[in-house]
Each structure stands twice: as C-alpha cells, then as structure tokens.
C-alpha cells in the first residue's frame, strides 16, 4: 500500500518514462553524486555539527563531540 502511494507520488513528480542505462551517462558524473567526496562531506558535517544546535538527515555518522 505504502509502495503504491509512493509510486503514485513519484509518477506525478517525474513521469513514468524510463531512463535507460545508456541515458545515464550524465547521471553517473561525480558532480551528480552526493557520495563522491566522503572525506569532504564528513569534515563539513562534523564542523557544522559542533557549531550549530541541530543535526540529522545529512548522512553524518560517528561519535565524538569535537570542539565547539
């Protein structure tokens, strides 16, 4: 049921036209992947997490308070 609702929302957002493997060259670019620079992202999230009062939903993991 949940997946059916999700499919409906996604269909409304992006349409149902298939995106074939040979059409995904641009999507495979490093610029299109949020995970292509893990060290940079981790350092940035760690720095901001130690200076601002909110965290979460940005993929950060790991403990340690760092310095505020």
């Amino acid at each position: 049921m949940m997946r059916a609702a999700l499919l409906l929302v996604l269909a409304l957002l992006g349409g149902c036209a298939p995106v074939h493997a040979w059409q995904r060259g641009t999507l495979a670019s490093r610029c299109m992947s949020p995970d292509s620079r893990p060290s940079e992202s981790r350092a940035r999230t760690h720095m901001l997490g130690a200076r601002e009062g909110s965290s979460g939903a940005s993929g950060e993991v790991g403990g340690g308070c760092g310095c505020k």
Binding site: L6, L7, L10, L13, G14, G15, A17, P18, V19, Q23, R24, G25, T26, L27, S29, R30, C31, M32, P34, R37, S39, E40, R42, A43, H46, M47, L48, R51, E52, G53, S54, S55, G56, A57, S58, G59, V61, G62, G63, G64, C65, G66, C67, K68
Partner: protein, 363 residues
C-alpha cells in the same frame, strides 16, 4: 630495499583482491574567536571481491582554543587537545540492487569517548531508478572533565534511524528525500560551563549548567541535483529540523559545478544559509527570586538564536596514472563561515576560514 619489497608485496596482495583506494585529507578551521582545529584523515578501501569491500580510516582533530566559552569556564587560559577517531567498515552486495554496510567508529579525547556502530541497507528498484536507504546508528559515549578519573564520567547514549529515497526524475535530474529521528539520553550539558543567575539587583551566583537528560531530534531534508548539460551541474536543498528542546532550524543550500571533458578538472561554488531558534529553557540572562534556580539552565551558544552563512569554492583535478596508482585526484576547497548569535551576550558572532586539501589514489 626492505621498504620496496614490502610495498611490492602489499600492492601484489591488493591486485590479487581487486581495486583499492587510498585517500589523504586535511581540513583546517580557524576563527576570530581564537579557535583553531586541524583535522587530518587517512582512509583505505579494499575490494575483496565483486560483492565485498572493506575500509578503514584514522582521523584526528588537533584543537587549540581560547574562545569565550572556554575563558568563562574552568580553564582561564584556553587549552589544547587532540581527538582521535578510527573507523572500520565492510560493505556487502549480495545482489546488484542490494547493499549492506556495517561500520564501527570509536573516538576518544581527554574528556570524551565514543563507540558508535552504524548499519546501512540500500535497495534499488524500478530498474535502478529508485533507491531506498535505511541508516541506523547507536552510539555509547562517555563525558567528563580532563584529568578526572573515567569512573566519574557520565553516560550519553544515542539511537538514530534515517530512511531516505533517491529518485532519478529524468536523464538530467536526481531528487533525494530523507528523514532522520535521533534520541539522545544522558549527560548533555558541558562538564565545564557555569551559568550566572541574578538573584537581585546586585547578587549573581554561578551554578553548573543543567540540560534535560532526553533529547529527541527530527530532521527532514529535500535535495535536487540537475545537469544543465554534460559540463554544468546545479544542486539545491532544504532541511527542516525540530527537537524536543524546542530548537527549530531551517537550512538552505545551493551550488553550481563545471566539469571539463572526462571530468579532468571540476570547479564549483556553493553556499549555505542557516537559521535556528533558541531552546525553550535557554535564556540570555537568567533572573530568579533569591535562593531559587531554574531547573534547566544553559550557557551554550549552540542553544541560542543564531544564523550563519557558509560559502566556498572548490577545485578538483584528475592527474591520471601516477607511479603505481592507476588514477590520482587532488582536490582543494576554501570556505568562509560567518555565524551570528542573536541571544548570546558574551559573543555576537564569529568568522571562520576553512581550508581543505585532499588527494586520492586508485590502484
């Protein structure tokens, strides 16, 4: 000679297993509130088979601080310390569309230790157009004061769960939707900070900071990445955060990148704006009837009303084969971080410069 033989053996062993990747990275933060943090990191990833990767990393935060927070706490001259962190993980893909990743991350410093464990599951469906992820994390931390026996430290535990979706809208656009709930329980105040309480016109007493033992955080984020052409890329996102202490925050970010042919050179600019309201129990100045204290009190500027802007330039160059490496990439990034505290009397704001340099090699 012995070094050459060892290197040859290591490289031979890694070739037998599959692809490897080594990354060296350093980040330096310096602000006008007399805080400097240098953070080196070294990480290695080794492909054991088509389905299994293992990785390990070491990181450190080398901290030198004499900020307002520190000067008003127990140490009047500031301090220097080092935080060490390790990470060891394994990724398993039993099927092409399914991924499991398990990671253990211990870290320690003179007044804080942490043992965190995370598990990620990812499943791709709709012909790999949609990816569902579920991130779970537990962390067992200990908090104390430097020089104090660890038996006197306090516990701080964290559990978090974060489902997310990544969807290919069309051949140029990817959208991400994520939610995370975190529950923290235990000692959440600073072991050093004291809070001034004004009892009457002339009498002020300082008492240890006291925060609620429970904090439940909710964060919801939406992001979009779009290729304008094969060389130009845009990204943007928004995050809404709310927690049980009454802190609400809004974060918006946007970026643009340009990649040359075969992504030999990538340059980019991005900016981020952030605003947060203060916690329910936070007051810039506490005033109470003589002999009484607020149950919860804080001198933590992270719980005050604040806003910040972060903007930076980055560049990345692929050097191609170099020595024993099949591909070497070098990246450099420089940011300015401007933070303003609207309800924190000792400090109006701070400006920081952040510099990052990284190199990765695949062999």
């Amino acid at each position: 000679m012995r070094l050459q033989v060892t290197l040859a053996l290591l490289l031979g062993a890694s070739t037998a297993f599959g692809d490897s990747r080594a990354t060296a990275f350093v980040s330096a933060y310096s602000d006008d509130d007399n805080l400097t943090v240098v953070s080196p990191e070294l990480s290695l990833r080794q492909e054991l088979s088509d389905r299994v990767d293992v990785d390990a990393a070491y990181e450190a935060d080398i901290i030198s601080a004499a900020s307002v927070d520190v000067m008003t706490a127990a140490s009047p001259h500031g301090y220097s310390e080092v935080r060490h962190g390790l990470s060891a993980g394994a990724t398993w893909k039993p099927e092409r569309e399914i991924t499991f990743a398990l990671r253990y991350m211990p870290s320690w410093e003179t007044d804080y230790s942490s043992h965190a464990l995370s598990l990620r599951t990812a499943y791709e469906w709709l012909e790999r157009r949609l990816e569902e992820r579920l991130d779970a994390r537990v962390s067992f931390d200990r908090v104390g004061r430097a020089g104090e026996p660890e038996s006197q430290w306090h516990d701080l535990h964290l559990v978090s769960l974060g489902p997310s979706l990544s969807y290919v809208l069309d051949r140029w656009t990817v959208a991400n939707l994520s939610y995370e709930v975190q529950a923290q329980s235990g000692f959440q105040q600073s072991a050093y900070r004291f809070v001034p309480i004004r009892w009457s016109g002339t009498t002020t007493v300082s008492v240890p900071e006291e925060h609620p033992r429970w904090r439940v955080r909710h964060a919801f984020a939406l992001g979009v990445r779009r290729a304008l052409s094969r060389h130009w890329f845009l990204s943007g996102g928004y995050r809404l955060y709310r927690d049980s202490w009454g802190v609400t925050s809004h974060t918006a970010d946007a970026g643009i990148q340009h990649a040359t042919e075969r992504e030999r050179v990538i340059v980019g600019f991005d900016a981020r704006g952030y605003y947060q309201g203060e916690a329910d129990f936070y007051e810039e100045r506490y005033a109470r009837a003589p002999g009484t204290f607020p149950t919860f009190r804080s001198r933590d500027k992270m719980l005050s009303e604040s806003w910040s802007v972060l903007a930076g330039l980055r560049g990345e160059i692929g050097l191609g084969p170099l020595g024993f490496a099949e591909d070497v990439r070098v990246a450099v990034r420089s940011d300015v971080y401007d933070q303003h505290f609207l309800t924190f009397e000792p400090l109006e704001g701070r400006r920081a410069f952040i510099f990052q340099l990284g190199a990765s090699a695949e062999y």
